[in-house]
Point group: C2
Amino acid sequence: MNAVLSLSDTNDFVAWRQARQDAVERALERWVPANAPAGLGDAMQYAVLDGGKRLRPLLVLATSEAVGGHAAAAMRAACAVELIHAYSLVHDDMPCMDNDVLRRGKPTVHVRFGQAQALLAGDALQALAFELLVPGDGSMSDAMSARLCRLLALAAGADGMAGGQAVDLASVGVALDQPSLEAMHRRKTGALLQASVTMGAATGSASPQTLALLAEYGACVGLAFQVVDDILDVTADSATLGKTAGKDAAADKPTFVSLMGLAQAQAYADRVLAQAHDTLRRSGLDHADTLHALADWVGRRAS
Amino acid sequence: MNAVLSLSDTNDFVAWRQARQDAVERALERWVPANAPAGLGDAMQYAVLDGGKRLRPLLVLATSEAVGGHAAAAMRAACAVELIHAYSLVHDDMPCMDNDVLRRGKPTVHVRFGQAQALLAGDALQALAFELLVPGDGSMSDAMSARLCRLLALAAGADGMAGGQAVDLASVGVALDQPSLEAMHRRKTGALLQASVTMGAATGSASPQTLALLAEYGACVGLAFQVVDDILDVTADSATLGKTAGKDAAADKPTFVSLMGLAQAQAYADRVLAQAHDTLRRSGLDHADTLHALADWVGRRAS
């Protein structure tokens, strides 16, 4: 895959990405409360700050920029999506779930702060995500707040991320076929990645046709993300990933690699990525370069 | 306290309460998805249906009725608040928190479905609460959706319920003074009880002065609820409570009874209750009978 020139290596994209990652980091520092009582703020900040690629916030911001959206609303939406992602990692790492001790190269939240505090920090982060979408200061229209809250709630809940995690738990040792595996990931990781795109779009105005194509682009990015995740789980080491490598195989979880083999999984990721690019081209958006580069960044990443 | 005639014993209130409890139950049955994947829907329904006094929904509905609010929006708000309450119980009962096996007379969710499913069911219930507040079908105004989401997020998060639980965890074996104990409960249980009132008010229109007095009434009901909770923890048995009695004392948690003794705690509950009634009277609302009765129902309950 390294032979293919990736849009994500261009200087423009690298500069855009770093600037937006910095801005997201500063916004999260401002909005995740350090002073929440009894150490809760410390656990929340630890769970959120200084880590991760901020893929979901970048998708929100790039989509918002592509549709000429409201910049301040997009930053709130970007951080809200990241808080949902961060809380899901905190809970997912707990002993009763994946029981993982390493995340983004650091001890997981429950290792550092104890399980009770990790549980509460995750719960509080989910509430904070929705709080961010309704500033209460007139800086966003009520219509935009309502639309963003609905998209986020649907992506996070039983029909989205939480439901996907339940299927994931129930799939240990089960030989899923490709449609079932994709249905699981469409919920578990795909829903929030797709919501990152649709929420970014909701901060501006776009035709129903463009919205539908952006949603399809988001679904492709979500699927490519997961296929590559499964590939990296067997090809990368823990230091590169910043989390425990090989854990899906160790846990006997179905993956795209276990289903179709490494070479076929790579070819599938490439096809899905090509579909993401094609969908974007059909959207007719004038400023979609960053979204093209983000798709490559997801599909050709090494960690 | 039984010598005082309680407004909550009147036939009108009992009929109102039963009708609203039935309506809330039917709405929750409709909105909590039985078909969420991999058993998640079963765990969510088990956590929510067929149990509890539905105090928070009743506060939402009674306040909405007192201010002439939007009935359909009030039912959504009532159920949203109950879902937040239900998820907090599921997580609070888990082994890493209070490690309780009995709730509403039934095995707790993690005992019945396992810890991982309990964790996910709680997470999904929180997302569903926000989803209910933004129906997406035009049945509520965006302004009302946004206002309700903000009130609920603030009550549930680090400044509200989750923060209070963190303080509660940190208070085991600590001799809190009365202001600290009240500050903890204002977050842990008070914030959501007060939000039940303010969200009910937000489904209608009320003057800023009336809103402030309703919020004060909600704070009094929240405090009375907790003082009586502490009293019942030492005076009632597990069968009556439907949960483990005596567990605060066993866990060496500070309570109003440990702080001031049983008789003084009862006198304090009576004073707070009188303040709730007085505040309501000052609100000048014409249709506050049910809110008066609800305050008595909280302050004079036996379980």
